[in-house]
Every structure is written in C-alpha cells, then in structure tokens.
C-alpha cells in the first residue's frame, strides 16, 4: 500500500457537505499544504470545519472561507480568524464554540468508540444550553458527545512511508486526535523517511490511521 501522493490528489477525498477535521493550534501543526490544495484544486463546498481556531489571517483556511465554501465551524478560540468571527455574527448557528478541552476530548472520543463523556467544564455557562446536566458525587457535569469527521488534515514533523507520524513539540495538539476520528486521514509531513527510520517510541500517530501521505511545502 503506497500512501504517498500529491496534495491535489489527496484532497479529492473531500466531498461537498463533508465534515473536515483540521489539525493545528494557530500555526503550530497547521496542515497548510493540504488546506492550500483544498483552496486551489478542490471545489468541495458546504463544508463543516472542525478546528481549534480556524487558523490566523496568515492561514489558507481564511481564504477557503472567503470562497464561501465553509458553512459551519466547530471550534474553541476564533479570535485569530476574523472570517470565523464574522460567520458567528452573520449566523449564530454557523459557529459552535466549545471549551478547548471539551473539543479535544470530543474528538478523542470520536476516535475511540466512546459515545460521550461527563465533564464539569461549562456548568453554569451558556455551554450547558441543551445539554444534559448530571450530578456525580455531589458535583455537576455536562454530557458531551463524540465528534467525528469524514476527512482529517494533519501535519507531522516526520512521517515514515507507512504513515507513522512524529509531531514535534507543541504541534501535536489537535492533529494527534483528529487523525483517529475521521474516515479518511491525510497527513502532510515536513520530512518523509523509510519505514524503520522513525523511532517506535516517537510515534505520535500510528501509521494505520493515515490513508494518504503528502510532502509538506514547509520543509
């Protein structure tokens, strides 16, 4: 199974109406090569984008949004992307905000076959609207449900040809979770090495999760 392909080829997996999980925390671990290919070579629209922050003014995601192809966002901090802020102003239902740890855990559950979990975060705030509140040992918790995507874009520092990904430093953030929670997962890597060259102890995402592997333009 040769997973290595071009960004343009890989992003063909994104279809109209898909939910797209996009790794990264601001620019750290942001799969810009893949988002750029989505911008330039794909016409997929009516996308739901799940991203911690939907990037910054310097990211390619804001350009995809300017093309009107993103109909919904699930995120946590959107102050760095004014397009997402504008979406929320124009249509309150188009942007769903979660506490950052809740968003991370929802995606982890999506990848781990867990339907939902009880978190104390958000109790007594607008976050609890529409959610089940329940008391365990005298403390209140909210039920949060798992989140999954059709396609995930993630970025690795080093990947081997099997798809094992090492995400260095603070680039692990959401990508490491999203790669487990989508039907089709595309990784871009700054460096691609032979199988066996990446230390088994440094694998952030096992290769079994990666469907397509692309050389990042960020080298």
């Amino acid at each position: 199974m040769d997973k290595i392909t071009t960004a343009a080829e890989a992003v063909k997996a994104v279809k109209d109406g898909d939910t797209l999980l996009v790794g990264g925390f601001l620019m750290a671990g942001s799969p810009e090569t893949l988002i750029k290919a989505l911008l330039e070579t794909s016409s997929a629209k009516n996308l739901t984008v799940v991203s911690n922050d939907t990037g910054t003014v310097d990211s390619n995601m804001i350009k995809v949004m300017k093309q009107g192809r993103v109909k919904k966002v699930h995120g946590s901090y959107i102050g760095s992307n004014p397009m997402t802020g504008q979406m929320l102003i124009d249509d309150a239902d188009s942007v769903t905000l979660y506490p950052q740890g809740t968003l991370a855990e929802k995606i982890r559950c999506g990848g781990a076959g867990i339907a939902g979990f009880y978190t104390p975060v958000g109790v007594g705030t607008v976050i609890e609207n529409g959610k089940e509140k329940r008391t365990f040992d005298g403390k209140d918790y909210l039920l949060e449900k798992a989140l999954r995507g059709n396609v995930a874009f993630v970025k690795a520092t080093v990947a081997d040809k099997f798809g094992n990904c090492f995400m260095r430093g603070s680039t692990k953030n959401f990508g490491a979770l999203m790669a487990r929670a989508a039907d089709y997962v595309i990784a871009e890597a700054k460096k691609i090495v032979e199988v066996g060259e990446l230390d088994a102890e440094l694998v952030t995402i096992p290769g079994i999760f990666i469907d397509a592997l692309v050389q990042s333009e960020d080298v």
Partner: protein, 216 residues
C-alpha cells in the same frame, strides 16, 4: 514599576515551590519574570507543554514550539510535550495548582466572566473554562477597574466563564480573597484607604482584621 508589573510581582509571591502554573495571556505572562528565588514552578501551556520557558530570542524562533498565544517560546530542561486531550486531562484532572488570568468581571460568589462582552465580537473561550474549573487555585490578576467602571461586582452581568471558581483577586489596589461571606480585602496598596478600594469595587468588601499593606 507600572501597575501591571506591580500586580504580576505580587501574584508571583502566591506561588509555592513545585507548583504547576498556567498563566493567561497578557498581564499574567509577566508573572514568570517575578517568581521568587528558591521557588521552582512548572509552567503549563494548555495546548500541550509542561516546562515552558521564556520567549524565544529573535532569530532562534522554533515554529513548532509556541505558547498558547501563538508566539515562539523556549522550554526548560525537564519539559514535556503532549496532545491537547492529554493536556486538558492534566488541567481538568486537578493537576494544575494555580491558574492566573484576567477578568472582565468577577463577583463575590467567585463567578468569573472573561470570555465575551455581549454585543461585541466573540473570540471564543479557548481553554479558559477548562482552566478555571480544573485548577486547584484560581487567581484573577487585573487592574481593579476598567477606566473607572467596576469589574469586581456583587453579581457578574456578562456571560460567565465558570461559576464559583475564583479564589483570589489581585489588583493594583489590593489583594482580595473570595470567602463564603463575600470578598475579603486582606491587603491594601500603600497610600490607599479602605474607602478608596470600596468605591472602586461593585461589591461590599469585608475588611480583614489584620489588613496588611500590599507589597509587590
């Protein structure tokens, strides 16, 4: 020393050796500059770092090692990195000893509002809700008023970040503890009267019997 640095230096004295600390963006980041000698703390960055260090020097920035504000930082010996689910497990699980952040409003029940102003552009809560619920101690560090208008209130009017989580408020005017009975002023800045602080505060202050002079 300006008000922000004065506040930051006073907050730093709340930190104990071995504490795991998360510092919010803005004023709280200054606190790292004032950690007392003999106190060794571990700074957590909520997107996935323990052992965060100072900002990276110009020319030495590593785009893969950033702080929660997106800026390149360094890490100290003994640091570790992990994904965001693990990181917020650390936070939610009570393994952060102290979190320090700013507030738009904070009230005498310990309620905190610091993520949105009704009618203004909403930046999102980021990790703030998780941090204040999960951390063992929550310190609000901020200027006492917003250009004269009260931020310390009997009841927050802005959308809450969390309910009943704030333990302490430190401003340029004084140090306050949130108690079951309300906000207790325990230290007051040099040259101020209790009336000065009370008039800058939208909640009735309880004055500590042993009210001390606030030193930075």
């Amino acid at each position: 020393m300006d008000a922000k640095n004065f506040i930051a230096k006073r907050v730093a004295r709340e930190l104990k050796d071995g504490d795991v600390v998360n510092l919010g963006i803005g004023l709280p980041t200054l606190i790292a500059n004032y950690v007392p000698e003999g106190v060794s703390i571990t700074l957590q960055a909520e997107h996935g770092i323990l052992g965060a260090g100072p900002a990276a020097k110009e020319g030495e920035e590593d785009p893969e090692i950033i702080n929660a504000g997106g800026f390149p930082i360094t890490v100290l010996p003994g640091a570790s990195f992990f994904d965001s689910a693990t990181s917020f497990g650390i936070i939610r699980g009570g393994h952060v000893d102290v979190t320090v952040l700013g507030a738009l409003q904070v009230d005498e029940k310990g309620n905190l509002a610091n993520w949105m102003v009704p009618g203004k552009r909403v930046p999102g809560m980021g990790g703030a809700m998780d941090l204040v619920v999960g951390a063992r101690k929550v310190i609000v560090a901020m200027e006492h008023t917003a250009k004269g208008s009260h931020k310390i209130l009997d009841t927050c009017t802005f959308p809450l970040t969390a309910v009943g989580v704030v333990n302490q408020i430190i401003t340029e005017m004084g140090v306050m503890e949130i108690t079951e009975d309300g906000i207790k002023l325990t230290e007051i800045a040099q040259g101020l009267t209790v009336e000065d602080v009370q008039s800058a505060t939208g909640a009735k202050l309880i004055i500590a019997d042993n009210l001390a002079v606030m030193e930075s």
